[in-house]
Symmetry: C2
Subunit: 344 residues, 2 copies
């Protein structure tokens, strides 16, 4: 399958994230994409194409325009206050606070984010819109008739909601791609999120809609980031009732439990009669991932690809997490190779 | 007037807080209380007494028992995961997230907080309950007939709500004192918050009640922490409608604007016919405060004390913020001396 990739991801290179009670070197780093790209080439997965620029309207089909404008301006507002280091928020409007955007940039960062682990840097906006183009060019490839495509997005997207960032995600590449598939003719789109973390942003974007079915297999929110979404009883609301499915798994879960969840999710997608599938492809389910607690092994990812291929759907893989940099290439590309092998 | 003070405040000594996009040495430090105590003694304000221990029920009249239990256990849960440095959360349940307490300590910290600037240390719980005893012993002094008392609380309290901490505050000393005054016979209690920052915690605790009137003069939330509460249109709700008053002032405001707000607030308190007054006494309104943007000068604090004394109410001063350590003693004690002088 084709890979869509842009060098612009390098423009987002955060230095430090707040985790474990302290600032540590950011695990979401440019070398992640390099390793994946190198593996794509090593196994000869297919051509590697650069994305084409898409209109901003596609982003605003999913994200609030005021939020998009904030992301675009954040770095210049931050540096206008005399600071040259990466921007981090300091507090958050939890229960009981009001939802009004402050004037001060520190307040805006606080208003539009949900964690202190996602620094905004000089190049974050450019990298984020480039990752969206990588996803939307993948949509173009599918619409041109391809069975599948790999959008090697970075930064990732699935934690970003309509109007907030977090979890290293700023614009929700997978959600924007799913919406573009809908807007370009697919009646029903499924999003399968196999990243270790719950795709809270994607879920919240489509939670009241029946035309995009969101499914996620992830660390139990009682134990794992983002903590406050991803429970099994979240089934959608309003028109979206019955079109959301979560498979929270406990720390230490291995491929036996994980693949049982995947099989169930694929059955749901099949019954839904989706016209297209977007896979939020995170490989932080890997046993050696530095911030995660599942026990998947490299050959398991081949099997994941084969299982997804059996759905026989036009499939866009959008890169999400995975922080064991040495193995992220092998694991991500194993999913794609397994898919190609089974798709024939 | 009497000062109530406990050495236990030293048990809370945070190392670093997230502010300005990075971890900086915590400005809320033990020497703050030392400076104030030294000045109390220097001017001969009155006797300095140690607090008596009060039952936990007084805390749970204001804070959720599950939150209090969390605070008590947080450090041991944190260190049980092999960490010895101060505990900080990493993400927060903003709009769209659910309100369920996670099992993992990192998730609990995230659930029960609203910022990344309030580290929990080995001694935070002991210091926080000791600050509550300082406040409640102040209530005892008033109930024994004193016109006024100074509860030299540390850590401060006014940002702490019924079930979350933040802004260097863990238990809301002023709110607990006001509730104790109510429970011990005062029909109407006013809380006047003169700290530079909005007393979001206190406001939220009493927002739907008419028996405790909350008034705050502070930096405009469009510009200043905590950003998401403290607007002039927050007037209370339900039974509390009309019993909350905010005076947000822009960065750079001096004593002319500030004292006009104070005079209006005192008029409101007088019209309310309060039986007792709790003053959340922060002096981070000072022109040299390192994290604030008002322009009050040291003599202005004498005038504040005189103006408050003119209300002729039994008055408990509970120490809140103020981070210009060299001058915090002079400024805080100027309020108290001004009060004593006018109270005669
Ligand atoms: Zn992840
Ligand atoms: Zn303050």
């Amino acid at each position: 399958m084709k890979t869509i990739y842009s060098e612009d991801h390098r423009l987002h290179h955060a230095r430090l994230e707040l985790i474990d009670g302290t600032l540590k070197p950011a695990v979401e780093m440019p070398s992640r994409a390099d390793t994946v790209l190198a593996r794509v080439r090593e196994v000869g997965l297919g051509s590697v194409d650069t994305p084409t620029r898409h209109p901003r309207t596609a982003i605003e089909r999913v994200h609030a325009p005021a939020y998009v404008a904030f992301l675009e301006q954040a770095w210049s507002l931050w540096t206008a206050t005399g600071r040259a280091h990466d921007a981090l928020p300091l507090n958050w409007p939890i229960r009981g606070f009001r939802g009004r955007e402050p004037e001060a940039i520190d307040g805006k960062l606080s208003y539009y984010s949900f964690d202190a682990g996602s620094p905004i840097t000089a190049g974050t906006w450019q990298a984020a819109i480039s990752a969206v183009d990588v996803a939307l060019t993948g949509v173009d490839v599918l619409n041109a008739g391809a069975r599948s495509v790999f959008s090697l997005c970075r930064p990732p997207g699935h934690h970003a909601a309509a109007d907030y960032y977090g979890g290293y995600c700023f614009l929700n590449n997978a959600a924007i791609a799913a919406q573009a598939l809908r807007d370009q003719g697919a009646a029903r789109v499924a999003i399968l999120d196999v990243d270790y973390h719950h795709g809270n942003g994607t879920q919240s974007i489509f939670y009241e809609r029946s035309d995009v079915y969101f499914l996620s297999i992830h660390g139990d929110p009682l134990q794992e980031f983002p903590y406050f979404l991803g429970y099994a009883d979240e089934l959608g609301e309003a028109s979206g009732q019955g079109f959301n499915r979560n498979y929270p798994l406990r720390w230490g879960s291995g491929f036996d439990l994980w693949s049982a969840a995947l099989k169930d999710a694929c059955k749901v997608i099949s019954d839904y009669r989706a016209d297209a599938l977007v896979v939020s492809l995170g490989v932080d389910t890997f046993e050696k991932d530095p911030i995660s607690q599942f026990k998947l092994k490299s050959p398991d990812y081949l099997e994941i690809g084969r299982t997804i291929a059996a759905l026989k759907l036009p499939t866009l893989f959008a890169m999400e997490g995975g922080y064991a940099v040495a193995e992220i290439g092998v694991n991500a590309v194993n999913v794609l190779s397994g898919f190609d092998e089974a798709a024939g």
